[in-house]
Amino acid sequence: MARMLMKGNYAAVYGAAMAGCTAYYGYPITPASEVAESAAALFPKLGRIFVQAESEVSAINMVYGAAGSGQRVMTGSSGPGISLKMEGISYCAGAALPCVIIDIMRGGPGLGNIGPEQGDYNQVVKGGGHGNYRCIVLAPASCQEMCDYTMLAFELADKHRIPVFVLTDGVIGQMMESVVIPEPVKELPDKSDYAVFGTPLNKNLVNSIYIDHDELEQWNMELFKKYQVIEENEVRCEEYMMDDAEIALIGYGSVSRVLRSVVDEARRKGLKIGLFRPITLFPFPEKEIAALPERGIKNVLTVELSTGQLVDDVNLALAGEIKSDLYFRLGGNVPSADEISDKISELYGEVK
């Protein structure tokens, strides 16, 4: 049966397997360890590569080597490990190498804890490492999406030759849901124009150094244009009960699920509240959020497990048009639906 009950962390690896990912390089960290463990379990059965690297830094550089060799390749980690990988991700971006990085966010800063937080938003969505680069960031909110968006991540990575993050938190990584395994991808795109194969006709170079100032400027402009194309074409978001809503709740990942419950409860009371959920965090659904005021939204409440990292992007999109508020919890605490409903009453009175 293609329907299985599994953790989000496992679902991501099933998605990778179906996407034709042939190599996994990783390092254990809670709450992302099952990503590496499931790759260790599944990949050898498929004749694919699994290597537990000596460090996060090494793992991402192995990803660089595999991606440069033309493989679909993945790594996974959580906040502290993602921080360590940032240099290598910058190199992947600089060399325009497609790869997929799973980030199962935990509490921070420092060692923090292993509870769910969304404090990696800025480092993942804004680039994070050195230089002017961006990664596509997908934010699944269920185990099925962990599988589907990991598959999609590989497609987008190859389409744009770019590192793609699958960003979620410990709740989605650790929870189990039913997952319908998709059909495996039949064929991979041809990468012979850039990948290094070590054959007589292939003398390609994988590289991020441009010693000449003009050349580096030109290369950065190419990357910049690529990000613009991505912003034009790859925005994904989901709306729930938004058509007649006057208050929009905005959140991603596990928070969006709680917000869905808040909306359900509010609608039972006849309150015009809807959910707007960004699925891509880069590219950010800026136009869609900017359009909310003219669609009749009077207030926006952003809920996140970080101290206002997501709301910064929401506010940039809204440009002060309507009132924008923020509610957050930290340290591994996830707000309950009641808690958010109370906040809505407190902020907006008895909304109708």
Binding site: L46, V57, G65
Partner: protein, 478 residues
């Protein structure tokens, strides 16, 4: 008369097309630098071993950052110190190719120290050429891990002080202690006889690499006239007089005929076989027909709580697994955290049609409390009209709520009677089936081999009895 034609070896590019500027026929290395000599030894060996077209070279950070200008191979440029990691993945992706990691002393022995150690220890099929010139050349002459005691560099302006800066790093000595490496030798480039020995070592390493004989490393003592602020001739003398005594030349490890040929498989995609290899059947999922479930049990938000070891997680997962087979959407979320130390573990299960929102059962429609702390902690959160099942074997207090349905079941006692306390989870499932009408006992029993995959038939039979016991107890007593 024999005619010697001097020409560039085929391991080099004819024209250094990646090199910026007009001078595309000469290297960027300074006069007297060892890199140029070593490059030539490698390029000649690649031609003679006929591996130019099957070699992938990793350039490091350092003066040889631009090695890719010169070598007529597939090329990677690496982050500082990470060439062995990149070489690892490149070699795994292309197990039939020769992979060279070219590194300097700061790159290999300082920032990338762990990378080389671990790649060597994994016995990667790579040949490493390690240039030790006792200084950071590219960045302008700072201390390297291999800088000599007393040696003046821009970051040891008073000379390397072993008390504060430590001792020179002896890479061959360290790596040769590992089991996996095949061949490790230190050579020098300070005069023609030594260059000839270096040539032999380079060829041996590449020949071994061609034959997939694991990890090869040649350390090359090399001059850096610019970094050392000496002329090329004096630099060669300095290598001979200062470096060679500190870094003894010779073979540190050579498995010779005992070297194992490591054949790693070429990674395969084989989409047609993926489902089969992972045990995923292409047959359509057929749901069990649903029984008559009262409205109040059609959207379940369940908190299961108890001691660690009471099968709390298994109970939750089994509830979700069985409900899935009736076509419900399900979620299971574990909750550990600091509570583990207090002896309680709990999980949340949602069973419903339609999309599941919040995964945590903050206000559950059903609480299954397996011990007293769990009852005390979660009872107040059950929604009015909800259901409480509690383990009366271990809980000797009465629940306080009067607005919920209460089922006191001797769960531990029943499991004990069945002869194994570990079957509490399936007693729970049987009780849940009886209370909610959501599962049929025979369906649950059909699923047991899947739930206890790999377990003996006796265990499965025991759990089947547990399901029935839980079910019957509820039917007989409520």
């Amino acid at each position: 008369m024999k005619k010697t034609v001097l020409r560039k070896p085929k391991g080099f590019n004819d024209v250094y097309r990646h090199k910026p500027g007009a001078e595309k026929d000469r290297t960027h290395y300074c006069p007297g630098c060892g890199h140029g000599i070593l490059h030539k030894l490698i390029a000649e060996a690649m031609e003679d071993l006929d591996i130019v077209d099957e070699t992938i070279l990793i350039s490091p950070v350092g003066c040889s950052v631009f090695a890719y200008y010169y070598f007529n191979t597939g090329n990677f440029q690496a982050a500082h110190g990470r060439a062995p990691a990149i070489a690892t993945a490149t070699s795994r992706a292309n197990p039939d190719k020769v992979v060279i990691s070219y590194q300097g002393d700061g790159d290999l022995a300082a920032i990338g120290g762990n990378n080389i150690l671990q790649a060597a220890n994994r016995g990667e099929n790579i040949a490493v050429f390690f240039v030790n010139n006792a200084i950071y050349g590219m960045t302008g002459g700072q201390m390297a891990p291999t800088t000599l005691p007393g040696q003046v560099t821009t970051t040891t302006p008073y000379g390397r002080n072993v008390d504060t800066d430590g001792y020179p790093m002896k890479v061959c000595e360290v790596l040769s202690q590992l089991t996996a490496p095949t061949y490790i030798e230190r050579v020098s480039l300070h005069d023609a006889p030594h260059i000839r020995k270096a040539r032999t070592a380079v060829r041996k390493a590449l020949k071994n690499a061609k034959e997939r004989k694991g990890f090869q490393l040649v350390e090359v003592l090399s001059s850096c006239p610019s970094g050392w602020k000496m002329d090329p001739v004096k630099s060669m003398e300095w290598v001979k007089e200062k470096m060679v005594p500190l870094y003894p030349l010779g073979v540190y490890k050579d498995l010779g005929e005992d070297a194992r040929i490591t054949v790693r498989p070429v990674p395969v995609m084989d989409p047609a076989a993926v489902w089969e290899k992972l045990g995923i059947s292409a047959e359509k999922d057929v749901d069990f027909p649903r029984g008559d479930v009262p409205d109040e049990y059609r959207k379940m938000s369940i908190r299961v709580a108890g001691f660690g070891g009471q099968g709390i997680m298994v109970t939750g997962q089994a509830l979700a697994s069985v409900a899935l087979e009736y076509g419900y959407n399900v979620s299971w979320l574990p909750s550990y955290g600091p509570e583990m130390r207090g002896g309680t573990a709990n999980c949340s299960v949602n069973i419903q049609d339609g999309i599941i929102g919040a995964a945590e059962a903050v206000k559950p429609s059903m609480l299954l409390a397996m011990n007293r702390p769990s009852l005390e902690k979660f009872e107040e959160f059950v929604v009015p009209g909800g259901t409480l099942i509690y383990n009366s074997t271990l809980i000797d207090t009465e629940p306080t709520r009067t607005d919920i349905k209460v089922f006191a079941l001797p769960i531990t006692g029943m499991a004990d009677e069945l002869g194994n306390i570990r079957v509490q989870s399936l007693v729970n499932i049987g009780a849940y089936a009886a209370i909610t009408g959501m599962f049929r006992v025979e369906d649950v029993i059909t699923l047991l081999p899947k739930l206890f995959k790999g377990k003996k038939q006796a265990i499965i039979d025991l759990n089947a009895r547990a399901v029935k016991a839980g079910f019957n107890y509820v039917k007989e007593n409520f």
